[in-house]
Symmetry: C2
Subunit: 543 residues, 2 copies
């Protein structure tokens, strides 16, 4: 006899989260700064009721299971309503990143075959421009009321009018838990963006993992402000996690400026907030300049790119705010690792704790990780060996939307993150480079990021970039490019002298060039592709 277990069949569907919040935490608040200006206060019960109206309205527009419905919006209660309403009626919430180039927005909206677009007032002008090229969108819903609806060349519908026409007497969709719920495109630096099609199951399992104490650590009494936008990898799962536990949620709408965020944190009693390092850099400067504080804030989660050591230290030492360093990617829903304190932290001196906190953290249960060398063989978890980071789990992508990029899993189901990392015996992962940036020298790898981090400490150096240059014997050798601090003169000899005790001998750059500028992406990262183009014919000096 090998029958199945006799437990209830209860598909993991996203609408269960908002129903749970409405039922058990109905009066818990959702506070938003609106795009129209002003503040809006609602609660989980009202948001659920209005999400039902969104669902019912979409059904009235003829949207059916599996259709894509797009959003182009800032974090507000209306975004949360759309998010639950779209997936709750069986459609797919395609969260478009408004910071993509216009051509990319057109590309992904057409690629996704979005039938409806919910957009904030901020984007009416943009969408009017793009509309002639948006081939699949039938309805443009502006997330505002009739009074704020602008005159337009497009047949715009006011969101409040749309949902007012529904009575909310609607049953959430009865779906296979593997049905698609959300769609988010990666903002790849090369080629067209590729879509990740999240399922109801993957979103719920991710949310279960996200609420846990070592991940986001959200509970009913938490007041959470996701500064990270909902179009940025599901705001790291916060709008699901907050509903799951009935937390109060605070959203700053289109505002990312430190004064506004600081005021909200204090006024609303925010105790947990999440954003990329750039936001926190501005916030720490603002606090230093004004002498203001962070109210009841207890913890910040920093992800998106590596949190600088000084930032972690400033939050903890100057503001008594604990930092959780997190790592993930759109293809992972997005959470992979979080650097919450473990038992080893106890009794460690601050500098050693910071060493651990600068790592990207430990895998949360549900994420399997391993590192492999160029030959695909697994490398030891010794904190030293580094290799390509592969991941596996129920909220990791299996294939890109519409099959773009072909097979992305290896024979054992592993997804290659494109990152190069170390793992240690305690499960801590450290990203050492992007795989495409690593320098492959004589069959061994040199981390461009580690070399850059070492080089910025050298006398007079403001910024450093390392790329691999063709070498007839070693395949590639490192070229170090440095920008000098204003008024400083950088000497190659001094830089190399500085590096010598800090790196392995064979990592020593074959050349150091002082340059006037280095190319960056819109988010401030070094644009290595451009550097590689600039120096593709560069010939290293012979030793």
């Amino acid at each position: 006899m090998s029958e199945l277990g006799a437990m209830q069949d209860w598909p993991l569907l996203t609408w269960r989260l908002i129903d749970h919040a409405a039922q058990n935490h109905g009066s818990r608040e959702i506070v938003s700064l609106l795009v129209e200006g002003g503040e809006h206060r609602t609660n989980w019960r009202e948001v659920r009721d209005r999400a039902l109206k969104v669902a019912q309205s979409l059904a009235r527009l003829g949207i059916v299971h599996g259709d894509r419905v797009a959003t182009l919006a800032w974090n507000t209660h209306r975004y949360v309503e759309c998010w639950y309403g779209i997936s709750g009626m069986g459609a797919v919430a395609h969260t478009i990143n408004p910071r993509l180039f216009a051509d990319q927005i057109v590309y992904i909206a057409n690629h996704a075959q979005d039938r409806v677009l919910f957009l904030d007032l901020s984007f009416v002008g943009l969408v009017e421009q793009l509309a002639p090229r948006l081939t699949s969108i039938e309805h443009f819903i502006v997330m505002t009321d009739a009074a704020h609806l602008p005159a337009s060349t497009l047949p715009l519908i006011a969101y409040e009018d749309l949902i007012d026409a529904s009575d909310g007497d609607y049953d959430w969709a009865d779906l296979d838990e593997r049905a698609p719920a959300g769609l988010c495109y990666t903002s790849g630096t090369t080629g067209n963006p590729k879509g990740v099609l999240y399922s109801h199951r993957s979103n719920l399992l991710h949310s279960f993992a996200a609420v846990s104490g070592d991940a986001l650590g959200i509970v009913a009494r938490t007041v959470v402000m996701p500064v990270v936008p909902m179009y940025h990898a599901n705001a790291w799962g916060v709008p699901y996690a907050a509903a799951q536990v009935g937390a109060k949620m605070v959203m700053a709408g289109p505002h990312f400026d430190p004064p506004t965020l600081q005021r909200l944190i204090v006024a609303e009693g925010v105790d947990l907030t999440l954003a990329v390092p750039t936001v926190w850099l501005g916030m720490l400067q603002h606090l230093e300049e004004t002498g203001l504080d962070l109210g009841r804030l207890k913890r910040v989660v920093i992800g998106g790119s590596a949190a600088p050591r000084a930032m972690i230290q400033a939050f903890q030492r100057n503001h008594d705010v604990a930092v959780s360093h997190a790592w993930g990617m759109t293809e992972m829903s997005p959470l992979g690792t979080v650097g919450s304190p473990c038992a080893r932290f106890e009794g460690l001196p601050e500098e050693r704790r910071l060493d651990l906190q600068c790592k990207q953290g430990r895998a949360i249960f549900g994420v399997e990780m391993k590192i492999v060398g160029e030959d695909g063989v697994e490398l030891p978890r010794d904190g030293i060996a580094f290799g390509r980071l592969l991941v596996r789990g129920p909220w990791v992508v299996a294939a890109y939307f519409r099959g773009d990029g072909g097979d992305v899993l290896d024979a054992d189901g592993w997804f290659d993150t494109g990152d190069v990392a170390t793992l240690d015996a305690y499960g801590y992962m450290t990203i050492t480079d992007r795989a495409k940036d690593v320098i492959k020298s004589g069959g061994e790898w040199i981390s461009s990021i580690e070399l850059e981090n070492a080089a910025v400490g050298a006398p007079g150096v403001l910024e450093a970039a390392v790329i691999g240059i063709y070498h007839p014997k070693w395949d590639e050798r490192p070229l170090l490019l440095v920008r000098a601090k204003p008024g400083a003169v950088v000497s190659k000899t001094e830089v190399l002298d500085y590096l010598r005790p800090r790196i392995a001998k064979w990592w020593t750059p074959d050349e150091v060039l002082v340059v006037d500028d280095l190319p960056h992406t819109a988010t401030g990262k070094l644009l290595k592709t451009e550097l590689r183009t600039r120096y593709k014919d560069y010939v290293l000096p012979t030793a």
Copy 2:
């Protein structure tokens, strides 16, 4: 196009928990007091490696997917190894409660068709006695080493010998996540025990819910001691939850006495522990008598039966240990509600906080609850109306093992808990009675428990019991039975005078009888079935 989401297929299987712990928290400790005496220290990596050997050994014994393998044991590392080893090789871990009557143990072992029994040394004598009637068990494995193996009439195998014969080079079973993983029988007071067949999926989803901050709140740095036995509804999920996050786990083996538990709590730095109220009653007395403290203990979870107000208060006021009142049942894996503090607690005076903490708590996400009247119609969530408590969710039973008891879900999939409860607007649930104990008077319900709680405050009353007695007009009316305190004389008039301002007029018992004794179950609960038998022909006085 209505395709499925494109996320990885990653079945929720129990062995993933122990693999995760071994990989990411390998050196985190598992400390056990052994049945042979002495203390044993191991860690997640070793426990995983030995669990693999258990699995491999069972395969060698011919156990196949779906076979039941029983345990009769106290909480130790070996139990954890069996638990993961059995389900990890595709068999079903049937956790037998040694406190059942001998006949019940025979009944359930035969009903489950257990093929192997893992037993602690403590139970060798019992099993020798029962063996002639255990018709399906082929192998008796004593959880000890050869040196401690007693001479026996049975062909006993020493656990350590069994697993030493395996090299651990074994792959965990590749299973449907709905495959059965565990089996636990309810200790019903009437009729034969019925089995709940947990699936891998239900256990994993339950574990995801259990680790969350408002449920058990277990994180990597937690040191958790489940005093609740693993045979008691999966030790409330702790052996799964602890592996999921890599917590240190402390287990007292056969010891439930306060001095041993207190010593372990202090010596091992336990910060979270879980048990039924009886255990904590003894502990609080022990602390009072000795002046000892609870070391680093921060929180106790109390479940199994209602936690008395004075107990919650004593922990919090005298020992600075927070209490989480929990409710669940074997049929629910077992967690249903937990009374962790929510935002409403802030600023409340102690007595009001205690009012909330005396309730059974709020549903964790994944548990749906509603209360219905006798007509099956849902009652309001106003904290006043009480009705039968129905539950639904992915870790709630769908049917008892082998179909016992027939259909247990209603047409909408709800399971009747047999409890009568209120729900309030904030999601708080309070058990007011067992459905079979409630007094049905003129179509309205009177809670026997509430009447008893009121009556024990009356002058001279030591203990009170209320049962329903047939009444020609009202169907049933309450009969109050009271035991007097030593030396006290209880008067019916005084009791009724005492009750009058404390209960609704129509709840007033039709008669008050002073009795010499009241019958109790083995765990100290009032045995209402016996009382109803005693008074089945009793005729109430006419008014």
